[in-house]
Amino acid sequence: MIATLADDPANGATNGDIPLLQVRDLGHSYGSRIGCRDITFDLYPSEVLGIVGESGSGKTTLLSCLSGRLPLSQGTIHYDTRTQGLVDLAALSEAQRRLLTRTDWGIVHQSPRDGLRMAVSAGANIGERLMAVGARHYGQIRDTARDWLQRVEIQPDRIDDLPSTFSGGMQQRLQIARNLVTGPRLMFMDEPTGGLDVSVQARLLDLLRGLVDDMNLSVVLVTHDLAVARLLAHRLMVMQGGVVVESGLTDQVLDDPHHPYTQLLVSSVLQV
């Protein structure tokens, strides 16, 4: 039995020997103040990378740089595109980069208001990416939207309701559906469970875990919540003062932290 499992290319370590994202010496400065610097890592297909650290540690700056919302002051980002293979993101035209952002990538913001169109219905929110890449059949767009509402555990009959009539957890799930509808390979998530009740948070985490597995998503996840990081991330980067002070396998970093800051971070978590 082991042999047949090991031969399954979708489940082994042998798939994804080419990194999806290659980041080298990345940095961003706000004038003379450093947001983050010297960030180097590879992200492989189906890998979830957690970035943890306290407010002001540079993790959100890093996420903005990675997702193309902030220019780099230093360093490079290469991405393994579907059509051209590995490309330097800085060498792409703005049109190519924006197309990449709304098809092959997804961004989940901490506040659903930043990631949703609050003035249009849930169905339109999900359908927008499809229409942006040329979907012109209303019936099919709706079928896809209903399907995705179900996948994120929202009643399909809420399809014509405005997101403002949804609870916080539902809005966050809608934001996720809106991103996943084009089948992206890379997701950027900024505190996706921040500001939610604990029970709502658990449901969202469970859903995210399932979607990440089912869709073989690669994720860069920014969070200050170590429990969220442990549940979702395969490995962690711990940031302090704009630099990565420790990185490695998630459970290793959390159970055997080496850097003084990581030890402080881990020991500061309240036990329930």
């Binding site: 090991a6 469970d206 396998l249 080496h258």
Partner: protein, 234 residues
């Protein structure tokens, strides 16, 4: 007997540095070497605090060893768990190296049956088939059927441990680490766990375990690895 060991530890050292206490250094062991072959069960031995659990966690790469090598036979090659990249370590854990810890890390909202089935599903086994296998193990470990579809967060300590054991045995890993698997179990369940271990050995699994239960230790282990003497020898 398999000629090359499944797990081979060479010159392993581990110490903790506690920065909150002015960089206090706590050495645990150094120069530790151990080889475990297929079908063999090695029991770790030594007084409390001698580093049995630390060694087990280091073998699983849950703790980062400071020096030395931990070679695991993985998919026809050797992986050094001390130096391997995180994704390689995860692949070894997924396919080759199982681990039954003392405590179950509860995942919110997920039913016991799915907690047990998860490693199999992640390995590409169809969900239904994985659930069947999970159900069989839960039944064998005497978890009442009415609990299978509940998240184990509210289970008793013994029930949680049995869920954890079932999760560890759902796949036929070539190597398996056991951290006091029977600590909170009654006689019948201890016997079931002993049977599970014996069956794994018969399949050729290499096992390393901590067994405080002397009867169990004597029943399943082929030899005892004494950490006290191992680290003083070097």
């Amino acid at each position: 007997m398999n000629p090359s060991p499944v797990i081979e530890v060479c010159g392993l050292a581990k110490e903790f540095t506690i920065h909150a206490q002015g960089g206090l250094r706590i050495p645990v062991f150094s120069g530790l070497s151990l080889a475990v072959s297929a079908g063999e069960c090695v029991a770790l031995h030594g007084p409390s605090g001698c580093g049995k659990s630390t060694l087990l966690r280091a073998l699983y790469a849950n703790y980062q060893a400071d020096s030395g090598r931990i070679l695991i036979q993985h998919r026809g090659g050797l992986v050094d768990m001390v130096a391997a990249e995180p994704r390689v370590v995860l692949a070894v854990r997924r396919h080759t190296l199982g681990y039954v810890s003392q405590f179950l890390r509860v995942i919110p909202r997920i039913a016991a049956l799915d907690v047990v089935a998860e490693p199999a599903v992640r390995n590409g086994i169809a969900r239904d088939q994985a659930r069947e296998r999970a159900a069989a193990l839960l039944a064998r470990l005497r978890i009442p059927q009415r609990l299978w579809h509940l998240p184990p967060a509210t289970f008793s300590g013994g029930e949680q441990q049995r869920v954890n054991i079932a999760r560890g045995f759902i796949l036929d890993y070539p190597a398996l680490l056991l951290d006091e698997p029977t600590a909170a179990l009654d006689v019948d369940n201890r016997d079931t766990v002993a049977q599970l271990i014996e069956e794994a050995k018969a399949r050729g699994t290499a096992l390393v375990g901590i067994f405080h239960d002397q009867a169990l230790r004597e029943r399943v282990s082929d030899r005892v690895f004494d950490l006290e003497s191992a680290r003083t020898i070097v």
